[in-house]
Structures are given as C-alpha cells and as structure tokens.
C-alpha cells in the first residue's frame, strides 16, 4: 500500500475528505445558523461588515428571539395589525413566509437596492414590518400559495 500511495498522498486525500465533511456539516441549516453568526460576533472575525451587522442584530433583538433565530434559522415577527399572522424571515437567502393559522399562505420577496450583510437584511425586514407593515406589503412581490404549491 505504501508503495502505491505514499504517506503524503494519503494525507492529502484525508485532508480533502475532512475539509469536504466540514463544509458539508457547516452548510446544514441548523448548524450554519448557529456557527456562522456566533463566529461573526467574535472580535477577530475578519469581515468587519459581517461583524458589525451581526452585533447590531444581536443587540436589536430580545435575547429569546436571537436564540430562536439561531435554533430555527428564521425569525418570526408577529403582524402588528393582523391577528394570527406571522412573518417568517429566513437567515440567508430566501423569501419571507406569511404564516396564518399555522399554515403558510404566501411568500413575499423584497430586497434592498444596495448590498447588505445577511444580518442587516434580517433586521431590515423586521424593522420595516414593525414600523410600516402596509408599505412593506405594498412594496413586496407576493407569491400566493397557489403559485408555488
């Protein structure tokens, strides 16, 4: 075996395999929604924008909401005006889900005109829904359940 595969080649294969496993594991939503945000809040995190945005999001949310966001990979915001309606904001790419009576009734798509870090986008949805839900709904593109079911 050693003659066919020298140690250096076997080590390289093992490292590539380990790296792929780590990346696969890190992409798992329940892991990535905990690990990456936690890393971004560390002072040594190399991307200053991500660090600032994650720190702001953590300070703007009640601790329980931030824990739920980490656990579920989405943030739930109750509608300020419609009883029984909740907006489910994903961490990362994706549309905001409108949940009524425990059922997703439509998806909303709304994006900033300038690039923002992931945590800022979550905060953006939360603030716009809470501060001016009517304008938020007017601006967003609506995809009712019948379109994507």
């Amino acid at each position: 075996m050693k003659e066919v595969f020298p140690y250096s080649v076997m080590l390289l294969i093992a490292l590539v395999f380990a790296a792929r496993m780590v990346l696969l594991f890190a992409d798992w939503p329940s892991v990535s929604s905990r690990v990456w945000p936690w890393l971004r809040t560390r002072s040594w995190w190399p991307v200053a924008a991500d660090h600032a945005a994650e720190t702001l999001l953590r300070s703007a949310l009640p601790p329980e909401d931030y824990r739920r966001l980490a656990a579920n990979a989405y943030l739930e915001i109750p509608s300020p005006t419609r009883n029984g309606r909740t907006y489910r904001i994903p961490r990362g790419p994706g549309q905001v889900l409108v949940v009524e009576g425990g059922r997703v009734t439509e998806r909303l798509c709304l994006q900033p005109t300038e690039s923002l870090p992931e945590a800022d986008v979550i905060l953006m949805h939360k603030l716009l829904i809470e501060a001016d839900e009517a304008t938020y709904l007017e601006t967003a593109n609506h995809f009712p359940r019948s379109v994507w079911r």
């Binding site: 945005a53 300020p80 709304l110 900033p112 923002l116 953006m124 716009l128 601006t139």
Partner: protein
C-alpha cells in the same frame, strides 16, 4: 446619547451626538447633530426608510429627524424582488 445608524454594505455607519450637550448649546454637539440631520435628509432623499427605536417600545417610522431619539436606523430603499 443619540445615535443615527445607516445600514450599508459595511454593516452600519454610526453618527452619534450628546443630547445633554446639545441642550446646553455645546458647539461640537450642535455640529454633530447638524451632521446627523444632514445624513438623515440625504438618506431620505435616496429613498431610505427611517425607523426610530426606543428601548422596550415598538419600532416607529419617522419622516423627520428627531434629535430627541435614542436611536434612529436608516434602512436603504427596498424593492419587490
């Protein structure tokens, strides 16, 4: 302390002013608040939404700069995706 935060690609840009120093007419504090108001108007002209945050209170959309606000967050213009 009052703070204006502008969400941006760099995370957020912060502008602060001392509300107590403004009350006594401190020139530096007055300059800081004028600068914050200028940024506020500039962002509004670009279509940004201004949201006033108060501890324990709901987020509130505002149309004019509020020097008494503890924190104002400017959200850049949004469009349907």
């Amino acid at each position: 302390m009052g703070m204006l935060r502008v969400l941006s690609r760099s995370g957020d840009d912060q502008y602060t002013w001392s509300r107590s120093a403004v009350e006594v007419g401190d020139p530096e504090a007055l300059a800081a608040i004028r600068e914050a108001e200028r940024i506020f108007d500039e962002q509004r002209a670009r279509g940004a939404t201004a949201v006033r945050l108060a501890p324990g209170g709901p987020a509130e959309r505002i149309e004019r700069f509020d020097p008494e606000a503890e924190q104002i967050v400017m959200v850049p213009r949004v469009v349907g995706g």
